[in-house]
Each structure stands twice: as structure tokens, then as C-alpha cells.
């Protein structure tokens, strides 16, 4: 049972980690695909550039031939200049294409381009130069050779063009494949994410259900464990409770005001060593056990003695002890008979000052020494103030505890009415100790009403 929260946290962390890892894979995959496609597009752009350059190369080759033909017909030197310009352009363009093919590692197209350029070189050597040297030479044979070169160059260029087109087609197919694969992979990840999200949601819903159940149980338990007070005739009852455990409203302190009969009321405040839920479980035991004993015994000393015996047997933990104050208040006579088992946080505020009530026995659960009772008479306006050591032990920023003397001063200056007094003490404890208390704090204040109101 104790390991369930740990298992829940581990499960949540695992699923979250898996989601994050999956997300990382998906993002990495998307970037890889993007890089691949970008690379393919870049290659495709280069191939298209090579195709454009190739057409330009073919145009320059035709310019060379036409310039030569123009020169052989007119013998105008203008055509020679045109020829040389076209030849230089051809060589430069051929070099550019060769560079692209080399960069793209297109050796097949490179070989074809080499064959084309070799033909052009032969044409220059076997047709162009002889004609430039001997413009009056008989043209027929040269023309035929020119035609032959032209045919073969056209053929070779067609081969280069086809090779580039084939490569481009392959790249287009590759791009398509990558896009398809990317779509499939994306669909896969969407599916995985969807399923994980569903799982996560189901898991979270289950956790929420469990938490809701736990919360319901906790609320039920808190109702059982909560300190209670009932209105008493001719008395004001004020109370406050602060738990050092933030998540729960219960702790190791408990108070109880319980009417035993018409005029008799049980007044209890107890502080269990320890705090939190484990201590709170004992408070319920103490509250109901003391009530049960008080119904049979009228003296606080007897109640404490019997409770001491029952507590030791029932709890069976030698390290657990309880300081407690048990009082029986007669609301007709305003007589308070009390027994204090090591509980020194009890004060009586009268008109002329605050008196700390003495301890009448050891704490419960430690030894089997006798407990004693004391009786005090209360007057209208008197206030019985019971707290736990959460008040006297509250420390300021310097680590200095309030102690009994500090508490006495606080009680002296606190509000006149019972609830005002309890609230003032809580405020003072909070102000001194900061937002978080180190120990639970219970406060119970019972004020005898003023004479006029009592007898009205």
C-alpha cells in the first residue's frame, strides 16, 4: 500500500519519458527527412542547371560552325572573331558542366560529355583550322565532314541530355519516395503519439480516480479524527487547529469538549509524540477512549489512570507517549476538576492576570505512577486556555522558542472572547514561526460568561 504512490510516480515518469523519447525520435526523423529532401532538391537543381548549360553549349557549338560557314562563304574576318568568341564560350561552358557533373559524381554523363568535347576538338582540328588557314580551299569535302561532326555531336549531346534527364527522373522518383516515406513515418508517429496519449490519459484518469477515492477516505477519516467542541451552557468555547502536515487537516494534537450529562462536560486536550497521519490515527483512539472512560469515572485522575493502562496495552509502543489535560467542568457551579498528565500548556486567565495550571502527573504511556486531580473555582469572565506545545515551542527567526512565559504574555494580551483569543494565538504563532509550523498546534479556550449574561 505504501509503495503505490511511488509506483504511480514511476509509471507517470516512465510514460512521460517514453513520450519525450518518441517525440525526440520523431523530431530527429523529421529533420533527417528534411535534410535528405533538401539534398535531393539541391542535386536536382544542379542537374537542371547542367541541362540548361548543355543547351547553351550546343548553341555555342552551332555558333562556331555557323561562324566558320559564314567565313568560308564571305571570307569576312568578322566571322573569324565570331568563331573564336564562340569557341572560347564553348570551352568555358564545357568546363562549367564538367564541374557540375564531377561534383554530382555523374561519371556516365561525364564520359558522354568528354566524347562530345573530343568530337568538337577533332572538328576544330580537322575542319575548322584547315578552313581558317585556307579559306579558298575546296569546301565540299570539308562541308561533308562538317555535317558528319554536326550529326555526331548532335547525337552525343542527345545522349548527354538523356543521361541527365534519366538522373533527374531518378532524383524526382527519389524525392517522391522520400516524401512518401516521410508521410508514412509521420503517420506512424502520429499513431504512436495518439496511442501513447490515450494510454497516458487512461493512466491519468485511473490515478485521478484513485486520488479521488483516497481524498474521500481521507475526508471521512478527518471527520472522525477532528477535534470537536460542543456549546456549553454559560460558556463560550473557542478553538483552533493547525497541522504541521500541509496536506492534511489532522495531526498529533487533539482537543475535545464533550457533554457527559446536563451540567458536566469533559474537556480534553492531548499531544501525542509524533505528528502527521500516523499520530492522527491515535488521536481518534484517545478521543473516544477518554470519552468512554469519562462516562464511567467522574475524577480526572481515575480517567487518566485507566487511560494510561489502556493506552500502554493497546498501543504497545514504548516510545509513544501522550501529554494530556483532562478536565471535568461543572457548568452549574463553575467548578473545574482537572488532571494534567505532563501537559503544562494550560492557563487560567482571570481578571487580575494569567496563571499557568500545574501538572498533576507524568505523561501517559511512560510509567504507572499515580495521577492526581485538582479542583479550581471559576468566576464569570475567567478563561481556561489549553494549548499544545506547538505554541510554546514556536520559534522566531533566530530559533528562539516562545516558551511558557511568552505564551502567558500572549494570552494576557489576546482578545476577550474565547474564539478571539484562539484566533489571536494562532496569528501570533504564525507571525513568530512563519508560514510553516514545525509542530501541530491545538488551542481550546473556554470562557465563563459574564455574570449578567450568566444569570439573564
Amino acid at each position: 500500500m505504501k509503495n503505490e504512490p511511488l509506483a504511480n510516480i514511476t509509471g507517470t515518469l516512465l510514460i512521460t519519458a517514453f513520450l519525450l523519447v518518441t517525440l525526440a525520435f520523431a523530431v530527429q526523423g523529421a529533420f533527417e527527412t528534411r535534410t535528405e529532401i533538401a539534398h535531393t532538391f539541391s542535386r536536382q537543381a544542379q542537374i537542371q542547371q547542367a541541362q540548361i548549360e548543355l543547351e547553351e553549349l550546343l548553341r555555342l557549338q552551332i555558333d562556331e560552325e555557323n561562324s566558320l560557314r559564314g567565313y568560308s562563304l564571305t571570307r569576312d574576318p568578322f566571322y573569324v572573331a565570331q568563331y573564336h568568341q564562340a569557341a572560347a564560350g564553348y570551352d568555358a561552358k564545357e568546363s562549367v558542366i564538367r564541374g557540375i557533373l564531377h561534383d554530382q559524381q555523374l561519371s556516365g554523363a561525364g564520359v558522354l560529355l568528354g566524347a562530345y568535347s573530343a568530337l568538337q576538338s577533332r572538328w576544330r582540328a580537322e575542319v575548322a583550322r584547315p578552313l581558317l588557314r585556307h579559306p579558298r580551299a575546296r569546301l565540299v569535302e570539308l562541308d561533308k565532314r562538317n555535317k558528319l561532326f554536326s550529326d555526331y555531336e548532335t547525337r552525343t549531346v542527345a545522349d548527354v541530355r538523356a543521361a541527365l534527364a534519366s538522373i533527374e527522373a531518378r532524383l524526382v522518383a527519389s524525392t517522391q519516395l522520400q516524401l512518401n516515406r516521410s508521410a508514412y513515418v509521420r503517420a506512424f508517429w502520429v499513431l504512436v503519439f495518439g496511442m501513447l496519449a490515450l494510454l497516458f490519459n487512461m493512466y491519468r484518469s485511473r490515478l485521478n480516480r484513485e486520488l479521488e477515492q483516497e481524498r474521500t477516505i481521507t475526508e471521512i477519516l478527518q471527520r472522525a479524527f477532528r477535534s470537536e467542541s460542543v456549546p456549553l451552557p454559560h460558556c463560550e468555547v473557542g478553538s483552533a487547529y493547525l497541522s504541521a502536515t500541509r496536506q492534511v487537516a489532522v495531526g498529533g494534537d487533539v482537543f475535545d469538549v464533550y457533554r457527559l450529562s446536563g451540567n458536566r462536560a469533559l474537556i480534553l486536550i492531548a499531544d501525542i509524540s509524533g505528528k502527521g497521519v500516523d499520530a492522527a490515527v491515535l488521536t481518534a483512539f484517545i478521543k473516544f477512549m477518554v470519552r468512554a472512560i469519562a462516562l464511567r469515572h467522574s475524577e480526572p485522575a481515575s480517567i487518566l489512570a485507566e487511560f494510561n493502562e489502556a493506552f500502554s496495552k493497546a498501543v504497545g509502543n514504548p516510545y509513544l507517549f501522550v501529554s494530556m489535560f483532562v478536565g471535568i467542568l461543572d457548568t452549574a457551579t463553575f467548578t473545574l476538576e482537572y488532571g494534567s498528565a505532563g501537559h503544562d500548556c494550560a492557563w487560567l486567565r482571570r481578571r487580575n492576570g494569567v496563571e499557568q495550571l500545574s501538572v498533576t502527573g507524568p505523561v501517559v504511556g511512560v510509567m504507572e505512577e499515580p495521577f492526581y486531580s485538582k479542583t479550581i473555582e471559576l468566576n464569570p469572565g475567567d478563561t481556561l486556555v489549553l494549548t499544545t506545545d506547538g505554541l510554546t515551542e514556536v520559534r522566531n527567526r533566530d530559533g528562539k522558542p516562545l516558551l511558557s512565559a511568552g505564551a502567558t504574555e500572549l494570552i494576557e494580551g489576546a482578545g476577550a472572547h474565547a474564539q478571539e483569543l484562539a484566533d489571536d494565538l494562532v496569528e501570533a504563532a504564525r507571525a513568530r514561526g512563519g508560514a510553516r509550523l514545525r509542530d501541530d498546534l491545538a488551542i481550546l479556550a473556554i470562557r465563563i460568561m459574564d455574570t449578567e449574561r450568566v444569570y439573564a
Binding site: 552551332i62 560552325e65 565540299v140 562541308d143 561533308k144 562538317n146 555535317k147 555526331y152 547525337r155 545522349d159
Partner: protein, 129 residues
């Protein structure tokens, strides 16, 4: 000599299957103009259709060796179709097989000469029909 070649061609026509003519774009007696590609419009005409076919399948050096069997005619040279063999010439550079067309040159220095020419190197004269 020219007469002998002409007679020879006539004999070849007789041997040509009728189906081959049927698939040709050109018909006997069509008046045509010789014109090759825009890049190099001059046209090589050949003394035999076999040589014409070989030229488009040969390597550069082989084709160069065959050149003496050809005549280069200027673009725009007129001719009359006297024979045709459909889809006779195959080459990787053609989308589909080309016709081998027998023509008699009717203009220019080669007037009266009968030779074979690639189907795509001839254009029907616009006013022919």
C-alpha cells in the same frame, strides 16, 4: 553512269513490298524540298539505303569512312520522291524508326541525281497538292 543507277533504283522499286509504301508519309511522285535540322539544315544523300541505314548506326570513324558514298546538298534543294521504305532506319537518336526515301534531285548542282535520304530530311512542298 547516272542512267545505270537510275535503272538499278527502278529495279529496287519493283522489289519493294507494297506494304512498305503504304506506311510511308511520302508517295511516289511527291515533290519535296530537302532540309535537315535547324541547327544544320544541309542534307546528306546516299547512294544506297543500306548505307544510309549504316550511317545512323555506325561509329564516328565508320561513318567518316562512308562519307565518299554521300553527297551534301544545300538546304532547299528540290527533289521528287521515287521510292520509300517505311521504318527502315533505326537509331538510338530517333524516337521511332525513320523512313528511307529514294529521291531524284530536281534543282541545284546535283540535279538529276537519284539518291536515298532520311525521311525526316525532306519536306513536302506546300503547293504540291
Amino acid at each position: 553512269m547516272r542512267k545505270a543507277v537510275s535503272l538499278l533504283l527502278v529495279a529496287v522499286w519493283a522489289a519493294t513490298p507494297v506494304a512498305a509504301w503504304a506506311d510511308c508519309k511520302e508517295h511516289r511522285g511527291d515533290k519535296v524540298v530537302l532540309y535537315s535540322t535547324t541547327d544544320d539544315p544541309s542534307v546528306l544523300i546516299w547512294d544506297s539505303r543500306a548505307r544510309l541505314r549504316s550511317y545512323y548506326g555506325a561509329s564516328f570513324d565508320e561513318a567518316q569512312a562512308m562519307l565518299p558514298h554521300s553527297i551534301l546538298v544545300a538546304p532547299g534543294t528540290r527533289a521528287t520522291v521515287i521510292s520509300c521504305v517505311a521504318d527502315y532506319i533505326e537509331s538510338p537518336i530517333f524516337q521511332r524508326p525513320e523512313d528511307a526515301v529514294g529521291v531524284t534531285i530536281s534543282s541545284g548542282p546535283q540535279r538529276g541525281v537519284t539518291r536515298w535520304v532520311l525521311g525526316s530530311d525532306i519536306r513536302l512542298m506546300p503547293d504540291h497538292h
